[in-house]
Symmetry: C2
Subunit: 141 residues, 2 copies
């Protein structure tokens, strides 16, 4: 597996080189918030769109406004998905796991897609898991 | 939302009281490992089964052995799902997200189910997200 440091955003997000950020959850914790992981699933297609993080404020916003909201652990602020891009995820329901330490948002995408990356046609990808891990790298699904 | 302290495992896992563990990701980070979140999805039904955590060792095991493995952040050891229960999750494929900081395991359950809890008939539940968040608590889906 390659180091991430020498890669551009383009290479990281569009390329075939595996360069996982195993430091992610240490960085998430370092933002100082009390957070849960949230898996987000398209209620109709069943596709897993993104995994993000929520604190009590993000969960309250999501329930109150009916759109998927998270806590941005890089900007350390409430992140209402689609607030700037228009790619809003309308909430269908929230599921809670057995141990009550993770969430599943089931949603209906109202824009182009849930991913911030774009496909060859310039449209937001439906979800973030558009590459499969192979023997020695990543290939587009 | 209730405090978790006064609740039994039974109440937490089977009950209707919402008592989310927002301290989860702080505890995950405190185990000292470099970890990514992993969403696990049934390749056939599309059901999101669990969200867990993987370090490089767990990912390597999963790829090498073809069964879902994680890092147990409470026991701080490799956790091969189903090793004791028999509820093995056979790996179909691994997807990587845009920013390469989370994983999606697509799996084929080979035992009863992926959850450690059991339904009224005494069978392991297929997945962990068997309750929906309502106005004032949780109801079984």
């Amino acid at each position: 597996m390659a180091g991430r440091e020498g890669l551009t955003h383009e290479e990281l997000e569009e390329g075939g080189v595996l360069a996982l950020d195993f430091g992610k959850l240490q960085k998430v914790a370092a933002c100082g918030q009390d957070l849960l992981p949230v898996a987000v699933q398209d209620d109709e297609s069943g596709e897993v769109l993104i995994v993000a993080y929520a604190n009590a404020e993000a969960l309250d916003y999501t329930r109150r406004e009916g759109v998927a909201a998270f806590w941005s652990t890089s900007r350390n602020e409430l992140w209402v998905k689609g607030a700037t891009s228009g790619d809003v995820l309308e909430l269908v329901e929230i599921r809670v796991n057995c141990e009550q330490n993770s969430l599943l948002y089931r949603v209906r995408p109202k824009g182009q897609g849930a991913c911030h990356t774009k496909d060859a046609a310039g449209r937001s990808r439906a979800g973030c898991y558009y590459r499969r891990l192979t023997g020695d790298g990543l290939i587009a699904v």
